[in-house]
Amino acid sequence: MASEPQATPTGPATAPSVRQPTAQWARGPAVPVASVVFALAIGAIFVLLSGHDPIAAYIDLFRGAFGSPYDITETLIQTIPLVLAGLAVAVAFRTGLFNIGAESQLLIGAVAAGAVGARFADLPGFVLFPMVLAAGIGAGAGWAAIAGYLKAARGVNEVITTIMQNYIVVFVMHWLLQNGPMTAPNALGTPASAPIGAGAVLPIIIPNELVPLTRLHAGIFLAIAAVVVFWFLLWRTPLGYELRAVGLGARAAAQAGIDPRTRIVIAMAIAGGFAGLAGMIQVTGVFHRVFDGFSSGYGFDAIAVALLGKNSPIGIALAALLFGAFARGGSIMQANAGVSAQLVSVIEAVVLFVIAAELIVRVLTARRRERKPLEAIA
């Protein structure tokens, strides 16, 4: 080895990087999968502590989610809003923003869709549906853009504004729907709006003869389309490139002529549009009206979905399916095995915990690398 002649002087430039393996490992699906497995193991301990059989509980959980065609369609119904809200978090994340407000963007989209759908209930579907769609997406986009504008123009932290926006929408919905302007005249105390017009209702896509009583609606196609749009937008358009550049290096983007401020507003508007679409789909596909408190916190689960899915289109779809299965399977497990459906929340929390821990580890190792300059390795 020692006598090996040193070839033409190549200089330091050829020193290969030894840092890449770790980085690539972190980019793969290893961590999300491991975190889910770990979370299931922790969950099993809690099931044991509550005096039940964890294996049986998990079998019930799985059966509840995928045990029959009907169960699968119910799982998918839960998955649809999670996918869309997950995209809402991810678009912002890719632009370097933490969108905690997917919940309020989803709710406001639902309110707008429900209001338009009820107010113009008599219009034919080919007019009404596009109106309702535009209302849902537009309301979510406009609402989220406010947080983006405050960040861009005034430097207000978007985490704060989006959290506050959540409260605003929740309470405005109380007011609208509990004996407020949107409350159905014949509601009889139910905090709900009048039903939307038949033309705005998303059709059931599986015939009753095939899967009896199924509620699976055409919103699933909208969700799939949204995943494709997300991918195309971010990786196949100049705008998406700009959003990613701002997210990964705002100052580099700025000096290259990409103004981060406008891109922040655009990213939030797109995020809100995805979430608003989620709300619109819940109204037109599932409830056919707006209920106060109809969302079980999709916008918050969406944060976990986006993180678990590493803000990638396929990852988000899979993570949303997992969380959808938890939501559907958890209630069945509670009914059958007597294990509280809260177990699902425990598992979701552990998943988040592990993902967050991985982020922390990555940040810490990145810092350590900073401390030891390249030379320390090469």
């Binding site: 040193q6 002087p9 290969p16 100049p238 983007a253 290259a256 030379e375 390795i377």
Partner: protein, 525 residues
């Protein structure tokens, strides 16, 4: 192992130099491998007692790895270490400290809210369980007097500048009784004045009988302060030299492994066409105080105007104004006669302005992007990268990335490589490739070779001179006077937001520039 390489330039054997002295430290045949990379391939290092020994080499030559082996942070795959004529095994920093080896790290390891004295004694407080602040301060003061190192022991570390923080690091090491002090790139974070002060301390330490190893790649510092030099290249010894008997050129040759190219002298004079014309430019700093107080200058086609000045006298703000990154409070910036002082960066760049920013890792590049993606930053909405401005063409981006990577000598020339994983020199080549490949009219260049090694610096300079030859106007901001003097046709000195003098490169001696930079306009005239 070592003898098998007779081609190695070995000016002097360790025993031939300073024969009256005993080797304090003898490292022999040190090897260390990281994955595919043989970081150290049988390196020898012999340091005599009471000398200042320079350990030099390009980035990646193995200097820091070798010192981390000595300090016990890495365990060598093979090789021996003798210290005070005894074979030693150093398994961790604790062993090294026990032997009397101390390391002053490039990035300080201090606790900011604690006082200087507390930091010095941290981990080795001595005395009872109750900390006696006064006694500690006295002990630290005693140390300071002996080695002529001035820092107020009661001051909080977070309140003192970097140069003084470094002294705290030195005191820490001395407090633990170190006889051999390793300085890892000690001047990287210092101002020129702080460098002089550090060198005074370093000389005092030698007079007090300490032995010092200085890791660096700055030849000026090697020549100024060291006694002997060990050169590493590619993880092997590339020469042992006695400072008094060598020249910077000889050291550089050993470091790079070939003759340094002579920069082609400015063969052609600047042309007559004025590209950039700046009149009465004023702008505020981030804190709202005046940063530019009426700047006038012009740069012609094929001319390099160097901007000299102590950092923080408005150079960064000037560059930002030219790019449209900073609001212009008053005055005009004309490119080919058109005022661009109100334009944003996108429109400014459309006028043919290119920018090589000061901090390539933050401002120049999106580090997490691939090489190909970083090459198109700012051009992402134009053909061929975006067909009709709407849809990106990944194949075209990759193809252009591969071509530019080869053209600008990015190693490895892989357009899919993540930029963060490249060395500093290769990162800068990505910036150059992006900024220079479209025939810019004006190139604003800020600290283009900061942190780069000799070969990469040479490359950057060649490329800039090539642009000059093609008729570009170049504004060069640099804190390296040598760089400014070597490249510029004219040199403007900035002081407190004004250009206090514009000199012809020929008449700009270092002394004159130094006086002007310090604000002594009359004395330098």
């Amino acid at each position: 192992m070592i003898g098998a390489r007779p081609e190695r330039a070995r000016t002097t054997g360790a025993t031939a130099v300073g024969t009256e002295r005993v080797p304090l430290l003898e490292m022999r045949g040190i090897r260390k491998r990281f994955g595919d990379l043989q970081a150290l391939d049988g390196v020898d290092l012999v340091v005599n007692e009471g000398e200042i020994h320079a350990l030099v080499g390009e980035n990646g030559a193995g200097k820091t790895t070798l010192m981390n082996v000595l300090y016990g942070l890495y365990h060598p795959d093979s090789g021996t270490i003798r210290y005070r004529e005894r074979d030693v095994r150093i398994t961790g920093p604790r062993d090294a400290i026990a032997l009397g080896i101390g390391m002053i790290h490039q990035h300080f390891m201090l606790v900011p809210p604690l006082t200087v004295a507390e930091n010095v004694v941290l981990g080795d407080e001595r005395g009872g369980p109750v900390l006696d602040d006064r006694a500690i301060e006295e002990r630290v003061r005693g140390l300071e007097e002996r080695f002529a190192i001035a820092v107020e022991p009661g001051a909080r570390v977070e309140d003192i500048p970097l140069g003084l923080q470094q002294r705290v690091e030195i005191l820490k090491v001395l407090y633990r009784g170190s006889e051999l002090l390793i300085f890892d790139e000690p001047t990287a974070v210092l101002t020129p004045q702080e460098v002089d002060e550090l060198f005074a301390i370093v000389r005092t330490l030698r007079e007090e009988g300490k032995t010092l190893i200085l890791i660096t790649h700055k030849l000026r510092e090697v020549m100024a302060v060291t006694d002997r030099i060990t050169v590493l290249r590619g993880g092997r010894n590339a020469g042992e030299l006695v400072t008094k008997q060598t020249t910077p050129a000889e050291i550089a040759r050993a470091m790079v492994g070939r003759e340094m190219k002579q920069l082609k002298a400015r063969a052609t004079p600047p042309r007559t066409e004025v590209i950039l014309d700046v009149r009465g430019l004023e702008a505020l700093s981030d804190r709202g105080s005046p940063a530019l107080r009426g700047i006038d200058f012009e740069i012609r086609s094929g001319e390099i105007l160097g901007i000299a000045g102590v950092g923080g006298n408005g150079q960064s703000e000037l560059a930002q104004c030219l790019l449209g990154l900073r609001k212009v409070a008053a005055g005009t910036i004309r490119i080919g006669g058109i005022d661009i002082s109100r334009d944003d960066p996108k429109r400014t760049r459309a006028r043919g302005v290119a920018y090589v920013p000061e901090d390539r890792r933050i401002e120049g590049l999106v580090l997490a992007f691939t090489v190909a993606d970083d090459f198109i930053l700012g051009k992402q909405d134009r053909p061929p990268y975006a067909a009709n401005g709407i849809v990106l063409d990944p194949a075209a981006i990759l193809k252009a990335g591969g071509r530019l990577a080869v053209e600008y000598d990015v190693r490895p020339p892989n357009p899919r490589a993540i930029v963060a994983n490249l060395s500093g020199g290769n990162q800068q080549k990505v910036v150059l490739g992006r900024e220079l490949s479209e025939r810019p009219k004006l190139i604003v260049v800020s600290q283009p070779t900061r942190g780069l090694d000799i070969a990469a610096t040479e490359y950057v300079h060649e490329r800039l001179l090539e642009q000059r030859g093609q008729g570009a106007a170049i504004l060069l901001v640099s804190s390296e006077l040598d760089e400014i003097r070597a490249l510029s046709d004219r040199i403007a000195v900035m002081f407190e937001g004004r250009i206090v003098a514009v000199l012809d490169a020929a008449s700009a001696t270092e002394e004159r520039l130094g006086l002007l930079m310090a604000g002594h306009t009359e004395a330098a005239a």
